[in-house]
Structures are given as C-alpha cells and as structure tokens.
C-alpha cells in the first residue's frame, strides 16, 4: 500500500505527461505482483471494491476525534478523504497492509463489518496511506491519469500499445498474465471476441499531394461530425467503444438494445433530431451522462452511421482490402437490416476538382469534411500515412480582441498562455466586448513570449488567477464550428478555437462583432 500511496501523491503533483509516465513505469518495475496489478486497476478504473459512503467514514472519524475539531478541519481542508487521513490518530501501527491485503479484506467484509475492517486498515497506515485507502473506497482518485496513459506506461518495443489495448478487455485485475507477458513470459491466451479492436486512423490531407494521387484508387466518404465508435456484438455480449477503447455502452442503451447481430462495425455515432442529425453539442450531452433517461433517448435517439466492417459472424475481415470490406458491409446491411444503423454511402467522383467542389459546397453542419481511403488497403491499427486521409472543411475564422489571460500549466506556468477573446456588441452605452471563446494553442514559442510580455504590460484587473487586459490586441481565431449556447453571455460557443495569427497591426475597431460570428452558425 505504501508504494501505491506514494505513487498517487507524486502523480497528483506532476503536471507533465512524460514525467507521469516515468513515475508509472518506475512503479510498475519496482512493485511486485499482485500489488502492481491492483494499482493498475485502481488507476484505470477497473478495480471493483464495495463502495463505502462518506457518512460511514465520517462516523468512523467522529468516534476518534472531537466532532468540533473535525468540522473545523473539514471546513478548512475541503476534502473528506484528506481531512480524515490527516486527523486519524497515530502514524501507523505495525506493518502497513499490502494493497492485496486491502483489496482482499474489503471484498471479504460483509455490509455490517465493513466499517470495522476499514478502521483496522486505517490504523496500520500513515497519512498518505490513509488518503489512498479512503480514495480507493470512495472512488474519485483524480490524479489526472487516463486508462490510455497507464497502458502507455506498460507498453514497450516488444509489447506494443495496440496489443495491450486489444487484450485489455479480456484481462481482469490483478492482471497477472499481462505482467507475466510484459516480464518476458508467454502472451496471454484470451477470448478477445468482445474486445476492442485498435482502430485505423487517418492523417490530414496535404492538398499539394493530390496531384500525385490517382482518383480511381480512392473511395471518398463524408466525414460526419459525431464520435467515432466501434460496435461489437457476439453471442457473449454487446459493447460500444470509443476510438480510444473506452466502453460507453451504458450511456447508449438505445443503440445496444438493437445490436441483435454478430459483427464488429466501425462508424460514427450520431444523435438525431427528427430526420436530421442533431448538433454535436446534443451528442456531447448524452455522452456526459452516466445514466440516460427515456426522455433523452426519445428526444435525441442515437444511431450509428457505419463505414467499415472488421468482423462478421466470427470472421476477421481486417486483412481484406477496403473495397471488399465495404462490399461485405453493404451486403450485410441489406441482409440483416440492423436497427439504428445506416450506411455511410461512398461519394461518386471522377477527379479531384469535382470532389473539391463537393467539399466546398457542403453546408450541412453534421459534415466535418471528407475522408479519402485507398481501395486496396487492409485495416491496420494506428495512423499509417498513405491509406487514409481526412480532408477537413476549411475552418471558420474571426478577428477577435484579447480580453483576459491566465497562466498555463507545467512548462507554461510562468507564461500567460490561456487567452479569452471577445467580439463587439452594441449596447446603450456604446460598443463593448463580450467574450466569445478561449484558446491555448496555435502560436509559436516566440509568439508566446511576445504575447506574455504584452499581457504583463497591459494588465488592468485581477480576478483570482485571471488577468483582465486593456483591449488593444486582435487575434485571428479559427474554429471548426460555432453553435448557439444559452450558457454563454454572447450566446455562442466555438468548437476547437485556436489562434492562427496575432494581428499586432490591426486596430481593434476592425475586429468582428458578435453578430458577424453568429452568422456563421
């Protein structure tokens, strides 16, 4: 338990991704089985422990600490686990339990003696161990580590990340066969029929390359503005995964319920509003919900627009050329008539000019652009350059005025690198600026130094960590889309805004108005 507690502490204070990876790798190399496997599960969110409510923990500490002092301390610290960890009397008596012992005894404890078991474990731990234990029981580790990041920490030249993500769903904590393989042993023998298949990704198209590309070798499809999903159904069960392998089945029962077939499909998850595809924000809302209500499903039903098939009735189709897979997919859809699934039809075209015109004319919000895929390419994991290209619509742009700046994180913590920018509105007291978006990227390091200097020279007020600046600098902002949003004062929300150019030269009076930007919706 002690090494795991130290790991959590270190991760909580390490902002950089690479430094986090280094700490994780060190931990997995130094910690024996099965503790490292339980730790892996805790970090990846796959550790299933009986939940202990905060009122149980509160009751435990109030038996040991003056309730007034507890209340004052909790008010000050603000986090129950931390308050209890710090207040619990003693510095750990006897040998601290291993993580394995903690997991074992909590799982064995019945509902009635769970609190007593927890108290005995807390007795044997020091402050950081107690904190880790309480976080394990109450959930909410919050150390900024995703499943993907822990998996990356496990991967190496002989154990590619794709293999680990592929076998992940066939493995269970404490992952002994996985670690045996990572240590040089045999590859785990798993039933992967329901597992996530690492996806094939596209690279952005460099338009200059089109001249060398033969149109007849490519299939063109619309790129839908939803989220990429993989839908797997076998006699063993049904799963809906995001493209990083996250299981989102629980949020989309309307899709899962209708997956009464046996295949693995690749497509775009969309929600409908009547006959149309609803804006991305609606999908986002459903994605964020742990539990979905019948009302939401009725108002915003989800569906999958499929473009590839990786497996059909147990047959792996990935080695086949795209052309063959798509023919199999079309035939399969025609035969099975799957509910909540439709086909993303290929676009017929003769040359690049024709396709380019189609792309420019696409006004539908649900379209992000085009995909170009080699007809002869098999389905391979990762982002190979050549077989798949994304050809996004040109981004929208607007000249906005810098309004607020905030310092960044990690290496950027001494720089004002997060910028809020606004556009003009006319009011009774004349023109004023309303914030329309926030951007952290799109500038070079040299530009960042200059921007930081400008912020410091022009700062007017302070709102906590945020600095207000005198309106005086125009930023050329590009974004993929803009939507109406009642949550923002301007009534607008930009998607993926980033800074394309800093217009040191441009007078702020010439920046966009909120109405100009609203016209882009």
């Amino acid at each position: 338990m002690t090494p795991f507690a130290h790991l959590l502490e270190t991760l909580a204070f390490t902002p950089g991704r690479n430094a986090k990876l280094a700490h994780l790798q060190h931990f997995f190399a130094q910690t024996p089985d099965p503790d490292r496997g339980w730790a892996l599960a805790a970090l990846a969110g796959t550790l299933d422990l009986p939940h202990v409510t905060s009122s149980v923990i509160r009751a435990l500490v109030e038996e040991r600490v003056d309730p007034v002092l507890f209340r004052l301390s909790y008010d000050y610290v603000g986090d129950l686990a931390e308050t209890v960890a710090l207040l619990w009397p003693g510095k750990g008596n006897g040998t601290p339990p291993t993580l394995d012992e903690v997991v074992g005894s909590l799982r064995m404890a019945g509902r009635t003696d769970r609190a007593a078991v927890l108290a005995q474990l807390l007795e044997r731990l020091d402050g950081s161990g107690r904190y880790a234990l309480i976080k394990l029981c109450t959930g909410g580790m919050r150390v900024g580590v995703s499943t993907r990041l822990v998996q990356t920490a496990l991967a190496g030249p002989d154990h590619p990340l794709e293999d680990i993500t592929e076998m992940w769903f066939g493995l269970e904590p404490p992952y002994l066969p996985l670690f045996a393989w990572l240590d040089g042993g045999a590859r785990p023998d798993l039933d992967l029929s329901l597992a996530f298949r690492p996806v094939m990704l596209a690279t952005p198209l460099d338009e200059a390359r089109l001249a060398d590309m033969v149109p007849a070798q490519f299939v063109a499809e619309w790129k839908w503005d939803g989220i990429r999903v993989q839908a797997v159904a076998t006699p063993e069960g049904r799963r809906l995964y995001t493209r990083t392998g996250e299981d989102i089945s629980a949020a989309f029962p309307d899709v899962i319920d209708r997956m009464d077939w046996h295949a693995c499909l690749d497509g775009e998850l969309l929600v409908r509003a009547g006959a149309d595809v609803a804006p991305f924000a609606d999908l986002q809302k459903r994605l964020n919900r742990k539990r979905v209500t019948a009302k939401m499903m009725a108002e915003r039903p989800a569906m999958i627009r499929v473009y590839d098939i990786l497996e059909e009735d147990g047959e792996d189709l990935r080695p086949l050329p795209l052309e063959t897979r798509q023919a199999r997919l079309a035939a399969w859809v025609g035969r099975v008539r799957p509910g909540g699934v439709d086909l993303s039809a290929p676009i017929a075209f003769d040359d690049w000019a024709e396709l380019s015109a189609l792309r420019a004319g696409a006004r539908d919000d649900a379209l992000e652009g085009l995909m170009l895929k080699r007809r002869d390419a098999p389905y391979v994991a990762g982002r190979p350059v050549g077989p798949w290209f994304k050809w996004k619509r040109d981004p929208l742009e607007a000249d906005c005025v810098l309004m607020y700046a905030q310092r960044g994180h990690g290496k950027r913590s001494s720089y004002y690198s997060d910028y809020t920018f606004g556009a003009w509105v006319d009011g009774p007291e004349g023109r004023r600026l309303l914030p329309v978006g926030k951007a952290y990227s799109g500038f070079t390091d040299e530009e960042l130094v200059r921007l930081d200097k400008w912020v410091r020279a022009n700062f007017t007020e302070r709102f906590g960590p945020v600095r207000g600046v005198r309106p005086g600098l125009v930023l050329e902002v590009v974004f993929d889309a803009v939507q109406a949003s009642p949550r923002h004062k301007s009534g607008l929300a930009m998607r993926f805004p980033r800074i394309r150019r800093i217009r040191w030269d441009k007078p702020i009076e010439e920046a966009a108005t909120v109405a100009d930007i609203r016209a882009l919706i």
């Binding site: 204070f13 003056d66 301390s73």
Partner: protein, 327 residues
C-alpha cells in the same frame, strides 16, 4: 488590546504593533510583527540588527537590544526575552509584575531549527499563543525527512533545476542549514532578495555553506538547487534557470489543495511554526490558566482549551494573515 495591537498598560508599551507607536516590544523581525516607524523598540540584539537590515538604520528612533534571559524594568513591569525557535533572534516576551507572569509567544516552533536558539518553555499564568497552524490536521514532519525528500528528487531528476520558494527571513536559512546538516556541500544558488539576510545570519554566527547568486551568466542550472522568494518562483525570473521543478516549503504544503494552488511539483512540509501537537503540548506545559490565541485558526485552539478546562479567548489582531512572511 488596542487598535494598534497588543498593549501592556502597566508597562506602557505595545507588543508587535501594526502601526507606528511610541514604545514597542518586538518578538521578531518578520513583517507582520515588526513594522517600521516606532519611536523606540526593545528587541533581542539579533532582531534589532535584522530589522535594521530590512528597513534601514533610520526606520526606528531608538533600537534597544536585550539579550535572552536578561531582565529589564519597563514602566511598572519586568520584561525579559526567552528564545522562540522561530527565526534568528525570535523571542517570547515574558512580562512579570507582583508575582504574576504573562508570556507573549510571538511566532514559535518546537521543531528542530539549526539556525537559532531552541524554544524555551516558560511556565506562566497568562499565555498568548499564535495559532497559524491551529488545526489538528497539521502534523509537521521532521526537517531532516523533508530535506531528504528534496535531495532524493534532485537525484531522481538531475536534468531539472529544483527551485525552492522561500521567504527571505528564516525559511531560506533554515533550508540551507538543513541541507548542510544532511551533508549537501554543493553551492546553493540564491535569488538576490535573499542575499543580505543570509550574509547577516553568517555574520551572527550561523554558517550556511557555499552560496552564489542565481543571477550570474551561468547557463546551466540542471541538477542544482536554487532558493527564491515564492513570487519569483512562478514568474519570469525563473525562466533563465531552464527546466524548473518548483518546490514549496511551508506548513501549508500539508494540504494538497493549498500546495496545488501554489503550483508546486514537490511540496515540502517545512514550517517555522508549531503544528497542532506543538501548540497543545506547549499550552499544557506552560501551566497557564488563561490563554489568548492570535494569528490564524483561533477557534479550534480555543475549543480545545475549553475541553481541557483552560480559559481561552481569541485575540483578533489586525494585519495578520496567512500571507505573513513567516509560514
């Protein structure tokens, strides 16, 4: 109590007043206890020298030095100083009249502080204690252990420059002394704002080992330890140092949210104040039947006193907050 601060009517003096007064007794030279402009101050000789180094020789009308343990009559009372263990020269003020003894602690710690005389317990009837860390969540670990954490991090990340955020008076010197006690004999680089007081500590007989300004043209600070005021740590000043690993060194580092708010990557719990155990033990050991609590979390400590049958009241002193420079 008066608006200017804690007042002793029989002696006709204030203790650590926040505005200029005729006659002030000063516990130590931190900014929240020692302000410039008093007509006359009475302090330990070290505190007098440090105060003049910080505010200039003209900051006070008259500076009177009274070494630890020497008694002096002031008005109708006798005053002496007892070591507080907080920073060099820091003292508790012991006031006696007609067999009744009051002790005003100023800031104090019972923890190891190699840069000054350790805290001396003075039994008394009235004890005025600080409560900067007056909550039972504060349990400050040993200086030695925290310094070991810093050195372990320097060894683990030799490509980074460890910059420790420290206040100019007390914390900087305590960390230097702690590093030396741990056998670290390399040059420690310090921000210009820390130089004068480090030099003064050495003149007063506290060795701090090899130091150099962190502002020279030296290009590569990888693997080095730099001390700088907390403000400079997160600001442009630290950019010249390359890949900085920000280190916090204060009692507040015990609470994660606080440490994260200060954006440190390595929090060290090094406090020049008492933790909860130190405060409650000291109150018990003084035998005081009346306790006044200042400076921080008064409510919890007053509550604890009540459970022990000790009369306690909070003293709300103006101008004291957790941003005082001595945490």
């Amino acid at each position: 109590m008066r608006d200017q601060g804690l007042y002793c009517p029989q002696g006709g003096f204030f203790i650590d007043p926040v505005v200029p007064v005729e006659r002030a007794v000063i516990t130590h030279a931190h900014g929240d206890h020692c302000r410039p402009g008093h007509r006359a101050i009475l302090a330990t000789p070290e505190t007098g020298l440090i105060a003049q180094a910080r505010y200039g020789a003209e900051a006070f009308g008259r500076v009177e030095g009274l070494p630890y343990g020497m008694a002096q009559a002031v008005g109708g009372v006798t005053v002496r100083f007892a070591p507080a263990g907080h920073v060099l020269g820091s003292a508790q003020v012991v006031i006696e009249r007609a067999g009744v003894r009051a002790v005003v602690s100023g800031d104090y710690t019972r923890g190891v502080n190699p840069t000054c005389t350790p805290f001396e317990l003075v039994p008394c009837d009235l004890f005025v204690t600080e409560a900067t860390f007056g909550l039972p969540v504060f349990d400050h670990p040993s200086l030695e252990g925290e310094i070991a954490k810093l050195l372990a991090s320097v060894a683990a990340f030799p490509e980074r420059c460890h910059v420790v955020g420290v206040y100019a008076l007390g914390k900087a010197q305590r960390i230097l002394a702690g590093l030396r006690a741990a056998g670290y004999d390399r040059t420690v680089f310090i921000h210009g704002a820390l130089e004068r007081l480090c030099d003064l500590y050495e003149e007063l007989g506290v060795p701090l080992g090899p130091r150099a300004p962190a502002t020279t043209a030296r290009k590569d600070f990888a693997g080095e330890i730099v001390l700088a005021p907390p403000g400079a740590l997160q600001d442009r000043w630290s950019r010249r140092l390359g890949d900085v690993l920000p280190v916090g060194a204060s009692g507040w580092m015990q609470v994660r949210a606080r440490a994260r708010q200060r954006r440190v990557e390595l929090p060290l719990i090094i406090s020049d104040h008492c933790d909860w155990e130190g405060l409650t033990r000291t109150i018990t050991e003084t035998g005081a039947r009346t306790v006044w609590v200042t400076h921080g979390a008064e409510e919890a400590l007053c509550h604890w006193c009540a459970t022990q049958g000790i009369d306690a009241a909070p003293l709300a002193l103006a101008g004291r907050g957790e941003d005082g420079d001595g945490d």
